[in-house]
Subunit: 432 residues, 2 copies
């Protein structure tokens, strides 16, 4: 790879998510060479992906060009690359655009969908971890309704209009709420010649409550909101299979027929060959790191964000796989890397939990702050404010804000566009 | 196709572009059944596609859901369908979602890129007639620069950074201007480790002036603007071939080496089997229509917009293939169809030329109105105002407006995102 060799130490960051970007910004004015590698040329604001899938936002407004973030930083290099293998002995990375030596390596590769080994579900379900995946889901949702118009069979129509979401974490809950609002506000006008009242949103949760990472109060209120919106919430039900048409569960009395299963039931660390052995990884494929985000057993390899698992007394299974810990670890590691280069002692990372939140629909959100918990309209405004605040870029904020105001006033979502058709399930039904 | 049979006459419109939508709106409150078929579920505002390609706008803001346009109209049906064949004897359409009978058929299928039979160019060049095509071009432009970083060969870098645009109509001129602005304002910051001054924009025109449909004054000024922006304008040069690397022309002294040829040199009508014989078509594949937009030789089949060629004294080769004639014909045909159903006499279509315009870059546009011609800053504001005015939907206007203000103030285009990689030319260079 054409990166000039300088007298500075070279820090290679793999991944331009929350952790990688925070770290890069922290190192911006320092005397180190930073190379950031990502397979996309943009940073994705993942918390709003569900709004892209449901036509509320355009993808471009939750993505931000990585080169633009780095543009004023000297000694910074970005390369669009897929890292294939880490050779930790020779401190060398193999990528699809060539090899790259590093002095320090930071893995900020994030997470990917966890199907817990179920290949059938992996093959047939939709996911929502990247912008292209979210756009595929947007296309499929709309295609389902177009297809439902083409059949006289009510069973087929029902299956096409049945959305089964597995996993009631923030992604599942937010998506279920958005689909319920589309059902109520948009479908009857868009499809007057289809009985869209028959559309169903089923949210399935293996545990005994939704938003299980949040307070009991938030869980209960969120479930209440979901039910008011007409979402069927299933608890203590574990999905065991999906052949593209039938969803089976651990309860033989509960099954679903659907053209769309959205899998939001789990994530796992995104690892790279060379660091993927059992020595390194937890059960959810996260890299075990010490309190300095140093990968255990490595001196010059670090991991931050979702892919890092820092076990501590407060967080025996590592920090939650969310934006906050990623950003905090990225910033903290920036200081530690400089300490390391200057042979100063490292400082342990301490996570400051600023709280968590989820939105269910218009005027309906739940917020857990360290000292306060609240739900409803005010929580919803707080949720919007916080998300706008953390979006990168003035233009993105302005466009998202305009969309939200418009959608709120007009009960609408105008980005219901099938720009790239997604035909995965298009031909599963015969009578067509 | 599941469209109920009523006592109303059924008018089937094929295509939701400017002509089809204008006609549909005109028929909205009438006692007819209207079925609109399109292979996309959205209307595309084609005049701004070049801004999607160059990262200035998000695709979602120049697209508008067709169902939303039609939502308050009774007796209206939309189907996402590709029309495969017209059986004019039995008044029956064959589509990819089944058969459909019509009483009146209106072809508003628009136009497609015309390669004038050159298969090699068709295979290797980029076009910009649809949103997916424009997004592919956006991806390719950005991928080229990412790839240029990976080679030490200046020849390869030059070819990757050379943009050859064939055809200096509005599309070619506007794209060339936008690329020149990107070269000046964005590339040096985004690619500090690449000598982007070597990037070239070549605009090639077979005729002796750019914007040949406009006034001589506009052409001269546009050429002047282009040259000030650093675009190489080639006149009286005809591109004869492109193998994915080398562009040949009718002048053996002029050739180009490029990874990106954008073909904007011509369009032709988009015809459908059953109406594609020489009886019906002109040389540019447009359907010959009489002054009532009736396809010659057919009583109940009409054509409007780009696909229709109404030869008249003022327009011996039909009206220009642009939005204005399409909209006017759509509206006019609405009246005539109602006249026809009520057995009243039809009125001949008379085109009111409201002028034409093109933008070259910031503060640089040319406007020809029937009585006035002007160029420069004021023309640029007029251009923006007119385009915002004709965009459908408040949200789209607001988002486009925000983007334009932002881009103007910041000399920026933030949608430089490779959301779906386009790898057509990615591996043509060896040293990589």
């Amino acid at each position: 790879m054409n990166i000039p060799k300088t007298s500075f130490q070279r820090i290679v960051i793999v991944g331009g998510g929350f952790a990688g970007i925070s770290l890069a910004k922290k190192l911006s004015k320092q005397e180190v060479q930073v190379v950031l590698l990502d397979k996309h040329n943009y940073h994705t604001f993942q918390p709003l992906l569900y709004q892209v899938s449901t036509g509320g936002l355009e993808p471009d407004s939750i993505a931000y060009p990585i080169r633009k973030i780095l543009k004023d930083y000297p000694n910074f290099y970005f390369r669009l690359a897929n890292v294939l293998e880490i050779d930790s002995v020779n401190k060398n990375l193999k990528t699809d655009i060539g090899y790259l030596k590093y002095d320090y390596l930071v893995l900020a590769t994030g997470s990917t969908t966890n199907f817990f080994g179920n290949k059938e579900i992996e093959k047939n379900s939709m996911t929502m971890k990247t912008i292209p995946q979210s756009l595929n889901l947007r296309s499929l949702i709309l295609e389902n309704f177009e297809q439902a118009l083409l059949t006289d069979s009510l069973d087929e129509q029902d299956a096409l209009m049945n959305f089964v979401i597995v996993g009631a974490g923030p992604t599942g809950v937010e998506l279920a709420g958005a689909l319920a609002e589309i059902k109520k506000g948009i479908l009857p006008k868009d499809y007057p010649d289809l009985d869209t009242r028959r559309a169903q949103i089923n949210l399935i949760q293996a545990g005994d409550r939704v938003l299980k990472e949040m307070s009991r109060e938030a869980s209960d209120k969120a479930e209440d909101f979901l039910e008011k919106l007409g979402v069927n919430v299933w608890k203590n039900v574990r999905v065991t299979g999906y052949d593209g048409k039938n969803v089976s569960t651990n309860n033989t009395n509960i099954s679903f027929e659907t053209a769309t299963l959205i899998w939001a039931a789990g994530v796992k660390g995104k690892t790279i060959k060379g660091m993927d052995g059992e020595n390194y990884l937890t059960k959810s494929c996260r890299l075990r790191v010490n309190e300095y985000n140093q990968v255990k057993g490595c001196n010059d390899i670090f991991a931050v964000g979702d892919v890092a698992c820092m076990e501590s007394q407060d967080y025996p299974f590592g920090h939650p796989m969310m934006a906050q810990p990623a950003m905090q670890q990225g910033l903290h590691l920036g200081d530690n890397l400089l300490n390391m280069i200057e042979k100063k002692p490292l400082k342990p990372f301490i996570y400051k939990d600023k709280g968590s939140m989820a939105t269910i629909g218009r005027n309906k959100a739940v917020v857990d702050l360290p000292r306060y918990k609240f739900q409803g309209v005010f929580a919803w405004f707080v949720w919007m404010f916080v998300h706008l605040y953390f979006l990168i870029g003035f233009r993105n904020r302005a466009v998202v804000f305009i969309n939200w105001v418009y959608n709120y006033i007009r009960f609408d979502r105008e980005a219901r566009l099938i720009i790239r058709p997604y035909k995965k399930n298009r031909y599963i039904f015969k009578n067509y």
